[in-house]
């Protein structure tokens, strides 16, 4: 890292690799994304707003943001406990549990979707016991929250684990020897230290939830105005060949996720960690 690279390097291949990088990036990513921007621009101000801001679409935004937010909160809470348990305690099968945390990354979302539906549907593994209690999970916003919690969990755990590992145990000891009890130590010493990581994990989980599609559509029931998430609405518009509508809604979502991405980058910068981050 310490080599000063102010001088011209003798390594070959810059032109070739840089040229290929820019070409491939343009063909696969930039030009297709440009198509969205172009199409969006061609709608005109009124056309755009009519498509992106009407009752059915707004209902989907509200639902998507609400369920994403709640699931990210659930993940922040339980993810912290899971990460803490995995870092600080010894338990049998820990490395197995640790590996399974990444399951939501590895499992195709459609598979997650039907698995969660099998478990939480009215006649499902758990659903049949919840139903008599008056709790309906599948085909309600609660089902969407369950699916988004599943999808978002690894983001929180994987962001928190290194942060908890890096806590300086001596600070905890210092707090203790100054008379703090465990709860005070956690609240005043540990939590402030890992707060940036916790917020980053929360934001990553929230961002992922906003755009999620596969794991949600099977469990949500997809009723317009009630359980129709924005991603699904985009597909519905496409199936009706309403390209303008799909584009306008997609642009809104894309802007939202870019804003979030920017916030996450700020958080990660605050976190001081350069290279770690959930996949």
């Amino acid at each position: 890292m310490s080599t000063s690279r102010t001088t011209r390097t003798i390594l070959p291949g810059f032109g070739l690799t840089m040229g290929y990088t820019v070409l491939y990036l343009s063909l696969v990513v930039l030009i297709p994304l440009g198509a969205l921007v172009l199409k969006s621009g061609s709608l005109g101000w009124h056309g755009f707003w009519a498509a992106a801001w009407n009752p059915r679409v707004i209902a989907s935004y509200e639902l998507t943001f609400f369920t994403s937010f709640v699931s990210a909160l659930i993940n922040a809470f339980f993810g912290l406990i899971v990460a803490w348990t995995l870092v600080r305690y010894t338990l049998p099968g820990k490395s197995f549990i640790d590996a399974v945390i990444d399951l939501p990354f590895a499992l195709p979302t459609a598979v997650s979707g039907i698995a969660l539906t099998a478990v939480y549907a009215q006649n499902g593994w758990f659903g049949r016991y919840l139903e008599p209690l008056g709790i309906r999970v599948a085909f309600t916003p609660l089902g969407i929250i369950v699916a988004l919690t599943f999808i978002g969990l690894p983001f929180v755990v994987r962001t928190l684990q290194p942060a908890i590992e890096e806590i300086d145990r001596e600070t905890e000891e210092a707090a203790a020897s100054l008379g703090a009890n465990r709860w005070q130590t956690f609240w005043r010493v540990i939590l402030p230290t890992i707060l940036p990581a916790l917020l980053t994990g929360f934001a990553l989980s929230f961002a992922r939830a906003l755009g999620e599609y596969g794991s949600v559509v099977f469990i949500s029931g997809n009723m317009p105005m009630k359980t129709e998430i924005t991603s699904l609405l985009i597909i519905t518009k496409l199936e009706q060949y309403d390209y303008a509508g799909a584009t306008a809604i997609a642009t809104m979502m894309l802007v939202a996720s870019f804003v979030l991405l920017f916030a996450i980058n700020l958080l990660q910068w605050w976190n001081g960690r350069k290279f770690r981050g959930a996949v």
Partner: protein, 309 residues
């Protein structure tokens, strides 16, 4: 890591009389009580069971519910076989392309200094910020019937959307950053010293790449390939938008699962899903094994320079 011992060791000789008391108090304040510990572990395991373990088990249980005969029959029909074929084909195209891109971009970014480097890295990560459905939509807007290139494509009788090329393109987009983002940080850490040494000893660029750079990053590369392949085979949202859902033609495995499920053919849907779940489990196992190799590559990258920052 005998944490706690280090600082206590300093105190104890002076305070041998109250040593036990201090140790006890410190222990109480740096470790949770048995009750709290048990509660936290219980909550963790309970939560993971509800959210992760039971759904995973449910896939296999539902797949085998109607017996092994039905399970096996779910794979031996034309629709399933062609879905497997298209999935493998898509991955076989996307993974090598993204490997070449990952290596090329990592070489350009980490071995040279130029302006706009961090902007380029941000652009490479861009597909991660785009949701699956939008990743599919952009290709429809480009190549679909009403798309920008739609009329031209129709004139030349080329079909991309609702056909295999669309599926490959959408998959290429969503898996785009996987290899590059594993290689770039590692190669950044490794610097250029070894390559410079090789070149000044007379090695050509290719020789340097094959004999010096590639062996140094092989585990990180493999890690990227594993993640890229898992996503390529499992992508659902993006592929769903560009696929015509034509059975036996434009269905990948995840789409096949959806169709079977929507037809209430649950046993077959879960059978096919269990194949994908098995792939996911293999991915996790491979990932776990390769992960510590990657960490060693990082450790070696830091070693020769000695000083950090």
């Amino acid at each position: 890591m005998s944490v706690g011992g280090s600082s206590l060791a300093g105190i104890q000789p002076n305070a041998s009389l109250v040593g036990d008391d201090i140790t006890g108090r410190l222990k109480r304040a740096t470790d949770e009580s048995k009750l709290v510990k048990g509660l936290l572990i219980g909550t963790s395991l309970g939560f993971l069971t509800l959210v992760l373990f039971v759904p995973l088990v449910a896939i296999f249980a539902e797949a085998l519910r109607k017996g092994i005969g039905v399970f096996l029959a779910s794979f031996t029909n034309h629709a399933a076989l062609s879905a497997i074929w298209l999935t493998v084909l898509t991955s076989a195209i996307c993974v090598p392309l993204n490997v070449v891109f990952g290596l090329a971009s990592a070489w350009a970014i980490t071995k040279f200094q130029f302006r706009g480097k961090s902007a380029l890295i941000t652009l490479i990560d861009l597909p991660f910020a785009v949701s699956p459905v939008i990743s599919g939509l952009i290709f429809v807007l480009l190549f679909g019937m009403q798309g920008l290139l739609g009329p031209w494509l129709r004139g030349h009788d080329i079909q991309i959307i609702f056909a295999a090329p669309g599926i490959v393109l959408a998959t290429l987009f969503v898996t785009f950053p996987f290899v590059a983002r594993e290689l770039i940080p590692l190669m950044q850490e490794q610097g250029t010293d070894e390559e410079l040494a090789a070149v000044s000893l007379g090695a050509s660029g290719w020789q340097t790449f094959w004999r010096v750079t590639l062996p140094n990053v092989k585990w990180a590369l493999l890690y990227g390939v594993i993640l890229c392949n898992a996503r390529a085979m499992g992508e659902f949202g993006a592929v769903s938008v560009v696929s015509g859902h034509i059975r036996g033609q434009t269905n990948t495995l995840p789409l096949h699962v959806e169709i079977l499920y929507n037809e209430y053919n649950f046993a077959a849907a879960f059978a096919v899903a269990s194949l994908l779940a098995l792939l996911a489990i293999l991915t996790l196992a491979a990932k776990t094994v390769v992960e510590w190799r990657v960490r060693r590559e990082y450790a070696q990258a830091l070693e020769p320079t000695g000083a950090e920052e």
